[in-house]
């Protein structure tokens, strides 16, 4: 058990999450190739939650072994992870038995993914270009992405947001909004 604890505290922190991702992908592929094709999404989500519970439970063995009057640091995480594992197994059994409703159909998932990408780009952009430029571009691009085509209104909205965030958050609430490494490097 000691060697397992050591492994979990070291390499296990990388291997276990990767194994979890692989298991979720495998479960989705398996479901897609079986009669449960229309439940593949639900099965993948339930498997992900099961893996999360199992990984969390396993990782508790890597916690520094301290205990005080019988109450250790791993006691409560194990309790919740164990609960998640049991419930996930019940859900998976339900999903594989076909008693579950079919997966919801995909709407404009392309837009959702693009929006997520835009948000990630905003996070990266803030670090380099600073908050104000990135936020303005984001509001404008987000409106376009959602199908709004009145450019003048979008420009006003973006400008208005930048002004609002400057006056309310920076001036009034004194939140130090990032100016961006690039602009700082240029001495702006």
């Amino acid at each position: 058990m000691d060697s397992f604890s050591t492994w979990v505290a070291g390499q296990g922190q990388v291997v276990l999450p990767l194994a979890g991702v692989a298991i979720v992908a495998a479960s989705w592929i398996a479901a897609r190739g079986s009669s449960r094709r229309r439940h593949a999404g639900r099965i993948a989500v339930d498997t992900a939650l099961l893996c999360l519970g199992l990984i969390a439970y396993a990782l508790t063995y890597g916690f520094t072994g301290m205990s005080f009057a019988g109450a250790s640091a791993e006691m409560v995480p194990r309790l919740w992870a164990g609960l998640l594992i049991v419930l996930s197994i019940m859900r998976l059994a339900h999903a594989w038995s076909g008693k579950e409703a079919e997966d919801p159909g995909f709407g404009r998932i392309d837009k959702v993914l693009l929006l997520m990408a835009l948000l990630v780009a905003k996070v990266i952009g803030i670090t380099w270009l600073g908050y104000y430029i990135t936020a303005g571009i984001f509001v404008f691009a987000c409106g376009l992405l959602l199908g709004y085509r009145n450019i003048a209104t979008l420009l006003i909205l973006a400008g208005g947001w930048v002004a609002f965030s400057y006056f309310v958050f920076y001036r009034l609430l004194t939140v130090p909004l990032p100016t961006g490494q690039l602009l700082m490097g240029l001495g702006i």
Binding site: Q13, G41, R42, V45, L49, L52, G53, A56, L59, T60, F63, T64, M66, S67, A69, G70, A71, S72, A73, E74, M75, V76, P77, W80, A81, L83, L84, L87, S88, M90, R91, P104, F106, G107, R108, K111, V112, L115, M116, L119, V123, Y131, A135, F138, V139, F140, C142, G143, L146, G147, Y148, L154, L157, V168, F169, L172, L173, V175, P176, L177
Partner: protein, 501 residues
């Protein structure tokens, strides 16, 4: 007597320019948030929390409570005018409110919703004032074992809310509880699930998590549906605001709905939506003309709206006295209190009674402000429903991001917000309810701390050694099992019925 004096003193303090302005802004923001389809009361409150960082804790609570109070009424505006409830609980208002609007009686319907909200809100606050302090004094005698059982009880009621989705609700709550254990162990200082990341040593910051789960996930779902067609606002020309006598005739219906709303609101996890549905159902059952319900009957509007608003005061009872939120919005409010170093629970009544009295007073004042603003701003609120989601959503995203950043001036928190937004979207897409997740996050620390304290004091079976604790655990188990069994029975009966047909 002390309570009355405290309340009078707090009322006096709030009746000055700055607090009144704050309440008015809160009520306006709440009505706008409730009226905008896609913005729920919990989302509205969560998005406004960053504005309170620089405020005095009691003023922050007053401001956020005003938003909570008004958002429930705001939801009724869209429900009545465009048959699109701005909040889940306003669905009930739309049953009879929109038919009234279609009949050209829009102002009558809006007036009914407003007055019913006012009466319900005032009643709920009165009950909060009467019962919160005695309940808190009982709760002060609890031991850690009882507190742990109380947290389990709170969790079980929300998990049982799902009915057929009970298992998913329970998983969602378990996920929230597990997320809560990330970071440094509160007793021994052991790092848990931090993967060596310094940002995780204090666990996930509550507000970014909350904004991601409640606001971002909701918008992702709406974007996937991609239906941004503007709603047609019904013509309200010719309709009038009703007079006092008109409302007076509906006093019994308002009172009934207020009582139901407050009682339902007190139960953790039940919330405004269930309160509104139960009240509507009850009103229909006792009505001499039940066939008129759903076609535009004033009692229908009043039943839903008064119960909806009364549930606010009810939901604050367990939050303030026991530290268990009665609704998703109360959970957000509780998180906001914790940010201001105020721990909701019985000790709040001992350590910060001024905060409690200010909250009571602000709810009464807020209700009155809502009544005035509701009448004065009816045209404006109706116009809010015309705001295009394509313009609204970029602003909510921008708000979510800056709000998350403002907590610690950290980009890590922005990433946490985004991450939880994606997790929330996936869970929501597959019908995992998110309020239990939030409740798990809120109650996680209370459950852990008290379980460990109990174990340290009396060993591993500590929670089964005290009668109150055992009773609460038994009630928790029952409140989880009964809805599951009843949902199964209903399913079985339905299946039998369809086979017979």
């Amino acid at each position: 007597m002390d309570s009355l004096l405290g309340l009078l003193r707090a009322t006096g303090q709030l009746l000055s320019l700055q607090p009144l302005l704050l309440i008015t802004v809160g009520i306006s923001v709440g009505i706008l948030a409730g009226a905008m389809p896609g913005v729920s009361p919990s989302m509205g409150v969560a998005l406004m929390v960053p504005f309170t960082y620089a405020m005095d804790p009691s003023m922050a609570l007053v401001y956020l409570a005003a938003i909570y109070l008004a958002a429930n009424y705001g939801g009724a505006i869209t429900a009545i005018m465009i048959n699109t409830p701005g909040t889940p609980s306003a669905v009930v208002t739309s049953f009879d409110g929109h038919p009234l609007c279609v009949q050209g009686r829009a102002r009558e319907a809006l007036g009914l919703a407003l007055v019913a909200s006012f009466v319900g809100g005032a009643f709920g606050t009165l009950i909060l004032m009467l019962f919160a302090a005695p309940l808190a004094s009982v709760a002060l005698k609890f031991w850690p074992a009882e507190y742990f059982s109380l947290a389990v009880l709170g969790l079980s009621t929300i998990a049982s809310m799902g009915g057929e989705n009970a298992l998913k609700s329970a998983m969602s709550a378990a996920l929230g509880l597990l997320v809560c254990t990330v970071g440094m162990d509160p007793v021994l200082g052991v790092n848990r699930f931090t993967f060596g990341n310094v940002n995780l040593f204090d666990g996930f910051e509550f507000i970014p998590m909350l904004i991601g789960l409640l606001a971002l996930s909701e918008i992702f779902v709406e974007v996937e549906e991609f239906d941004f067609r503007p709603q047609k606002v019904e013509d309200e020309a010719g309709s009038k605001w009703p007079g006092f006598l008109y409302y007076w005739k509906l006093r019994a219906a308002m009172l009934r709905a207020s009582i139901i709303g407050t009682i339902v609101g007190i139960f953790p996890g039940a919330g405004a939506t269930i309160a509104a549905f139960i009240s509507y159902d009850m009103e229909k059952r006792i009505s001499k003309t039940p066939e008129r319900f759903g076609k535009g009957i004033p009692e229908g509007v009043v039943a839903g709206e008064a119960a909806d608003s009364a549930s606010v005061g009810g939901a604050l009872v367990p939050m303030l006295t026991l530290g268990i939120p009665g609704s998703a919005t109360a959970a957000v409010l509780m998180g906001a209190l914790m940010i201001h170093d105020l721990q909701p629970g019985p000790e709040l009544f001992v350590k910060n009674p001024d905060v409690i009295y200010k909250l009571y007073a602000s709810l009464f004042i807020g209700n009155t402000v809502m009544l005035i603003l509701g009448i004065w701003g009816s045209k404006l609120w109706i116009n809010v429903t015309r705001v295009r989601k394509q313009l609204l959503f970029p602003l909510i995203f921008a708000f979510a991001m800056i709000g998350s950043y403002a907590v610690n001036s950290s980009m890590w928190d922005v990433m946490v917000c985004l991450g939880f937004g994606i997790v929330g979207y996936i869970l929501k897409r597959y019908n995992y309810p998110l309020p239990p997740f939030v409740l798990g996050m809120v109650l996680g620390e209370m459950a852990e701390m008290n379980l460990r304290r109990a174990v340290m004091m009396a060993g591993p079976t500590a929670v089964f050694q005290r009668p109150i604790s055992v009773t609460m655990l038994a009630v928790a188990a029952l409140s989880f099992v009964i809805p599951v069994i009843s949902a199964r029975r209903k399913r079985a009966a339905k299946a039998k019925g369809s086979v017979a047909a």
